[in-house]
C-alpha cells in the first residue's frame, strides 16, 4: 500500500508538461526574428546608399559588397585568409588555454600566489589589449610572436579567472557530500570540484575567446608587414587600395567567423546549463 502511495505521489509531482511544439517550429521561432532584423539592417544600408549620405566611392551598396565577397571566395584568397587567421587563432587561443588553466589552478590552490597575483589577473583583464602592441612590437618586432604575445595576455587572464571562480564557488555542500562519499584529495578534484566548476570555466573560456579574437584582429591590422593574405591583412589592404566593397566584404567575413565560434561556445554553455538544471525549458 505504502509503495503505491509513494509512486502515486511521484507521478503527481512529476506531471508531464504540456506537449511541446515541433522542433522545426521551435527553430523557425528563433530564426525569423533574426532574419527580419537582418533584412531591416540591410534595408537601412541600401537606403543610405540610395540617398548618397556618403559618396558612393566610399559607401558601397549591399549588392556590391556581397558580389565582392563572392568573387573573393571564388578566387580562393578568402579561404587562404581564413586558414591563416584560423591557424593563428587556434595557436594563440590554445596557448592561452594551457597558460590560463595552469595559472588558474595554481592561484586557486596556493594561498600565497592568490594574495600575490590574484587581483593582478583581474587588473590585466581591464587593460585594452591594443595598448600592449607598442611593447609587443618593440620586444618581438613585426612578427607573429608579437601577435601571440598580445593574444595570450588578453585571453589567459579571463580563462584563469574562470577556473578560479569555478573552484571558489563550488557549493560547500557538494564538498561535504563528496568527502562523505569517500572522495578525497585528487579524487575530490576530479569527481566533484572539476564538474562543479565547469559552468564557470566555460564562461571563462568564452570570454577568453572574445578577448583573443579582438587581439588577433588588432594584431593583423597593425602588423601588416606579415603579408596581406590574413583576414586582417586583406582588410587593411582593401582600405589602402580604397576598395570599400572589399573592406565591407572582409568585415562580414570577420563578423561571421566570430559568430560561428561564439555559437559553439554558447551551445556548450547551454548544454551544460541544461544538464545542471539551471535553465527551465
Amino acid at each position: 500500500m505504502a509503495v503505491d502511495t509513494l509512486s502515486g505521489l511521484d507521478a503527481l509531482e512529476l506531471a508531464e508538461r504540456q506537449s511541446e511544439p515541433s522542433r522545426l517550429l521551435r527553430i523557425w521561432g528563433t530564426i525569423w526574428p533574426k532574419l527580419a532584423a537582418l533584412a531591416i539592417a540591410l534595408a537601412f544600408w541600401q537606403l543610405a546608399f540610395v540617398l548618397e549620405l556618403r559618396p558612393s566611392y566610399t559607401l558601397p551598396s549591399p549588392a556590391e559588397a556581397f558580389t565582392e565577397l563572392a568573387e573573393r571566395a571564388q578566387r580562393g584568397e578568402l579561404w587562404k585568409g581564413i586558414a591563416i587567421t584560423a591557424r593563428r587563432a587556434a595557436m594563440g587561443y590554445g596557448f592561452s588555454l594551457i597558460l590560463g588553466v595552469g595559472l588558474g589552478l595554481a592561484v586557486a590552490r596556493v594561498r600565497v600566489l592568490r594574495v600575490a597575483i590574484g587581483s593582478m589577473i583581474t587588473a590585466l583583464q581591464t587593460m585594452p589589449s591594443i595598448a600592449w602592441f607598442p611593447l609587443a612590437i618593440l620586444l618581438f618586432g613585426l612578427t607573429e610572436q608579437a601577435i601571440f604575445f598580445v593574444v595570450v595576455l588578453g585571453a589567459a587572464p579571463s580563462i584563469a579567472n574562470g577556473v578560479i571562480a569555478g573552484i571558489d564557488y563550488v557549493p560547500p555542500l557538494f564538498l561535504r557530500a563528496g568527502r562523505n562519499l569517500g572522495a578525497r584529495g585528487l579524487k575530490l578534484y576530479w569527481y566533484i570540484i572539476a564538474p562543479a566548476a565547469l559552468p564557470s570555466f566555460v564562461s571563462g573560456l568564452k570570454q577568453g575567446w572574445a578577448f583573443s579574437w579582438r587581439s588577433l584582429m588588432a594584431g593583423e591590422l597593425i602588423i601588416v608587414g606579415l603579408g596581406k593574405t590574413s583576414l586582417g591583412g586583406q582588410l587593411t589592404l582593401a582600405r589602402e587600395l580604397i576598395d570599400p566593397p572589399g573592406v565591407i566584404a572582409m568585415m562580414i567575413v570577420i563578423l561571421l567567423f566570430g559568430l560561428v565560434v561564439d555559437y559553439f561556445f554558447s551551445k556548450a554553455d547551454r548544454l551544460i546549463r541544461n544538464r545542471w538544471g539551471l535553465i527551465e525549458q
Partner: protein, 259 residues
Amino acid sequence: MTLTAPPQSVIANAVTLSGVTKVYGRGSNAVLALDGLTLDVRHGEFVCLVGASGCGKSTLLNLIAGLDRATGGDIQLSQDRAPTLMFQDPALFPWLSVASNVELPLKLRGVPKEERKKRVAELLEVVHLSEFAKRQPHELSGGMRQRVALARTLGQDSPVLLMDEPFGALDAMTRDLLHDELERIWTQRQLTVLFVTHNVREAARLADRIVLLSSRPGRIIYETPVEIPRPRRIDSTEVASLAAEVTDRLRQEVGRHGR
C-alpha cells in the same frame, strides 16, 4: 606485543561517545558547541537526537562522520568503515544522472563496473526509483531526490547511518511515507541510525530512544526509551502523548535562554 580483546562496551556499541567536546574559534571568540557529550548507541539501535537551534546536533554528526575533529573526548566506532551522513539537502550532484549519483560512492571505492551496475539497480529498487535512473536530479521532486540521496548513502555499505534532519524540507505526506520507507530499510539492513531532528513527533515516530540536547553548549539533558510497538503511526495517540512530554522538556530548556 599481545593482542587484547577490546572492552565489552566497544563490541556491544556501534558508536561510543565519551566526553566529546567541541570548541569553535579561539580566545575570547571561542564558542563551546558541545560540552562533554557521553552517549552509547547500540548496534541496530535507532536513536533520535532532538534539540532546539544551537544545540550542536550537526556538529556532533560531523564529528562522528569524521568530517571534523573533536576538541576533547573520544569517539569510538565498532567498525573501520566510516559512518555515512545524509543532510537536509539531498546534495545530489546536478551533473550526474540519478543512477550515476548512486554509483559515485561505489566508483570511489573501486567497485568493478559490472558489479556497480548491479548494485545501482538494486539500490534504486530499494527506494522505488528504478524507472527514474536516467533522469537528472532537477527533474525529480524533493522527496524523490531525498530517496536518491538515501540510495546513494546506502551504497556506502556503512552499518551506521547519520541523518541530519533529512526530511526537514519535505511536505507532511511525503515525510510520513519516507518514515515508513526508512523504518523498513533500517529493519531489513539492520542499520544503526543516529537521526537528528527538531521535530519531536518525528522522533517519537521513529526512535528506539530519544535523546534531548540543550542549546549553547550542547549537553544531554534528557533521555527516554520509546516503547511504542512498531509499526507506528505519527498521528497515533501514543506517539502524540510521548511527543507532548518531550516537547515540554524542550520548552523548559529553550525558556531557560530567555531569562
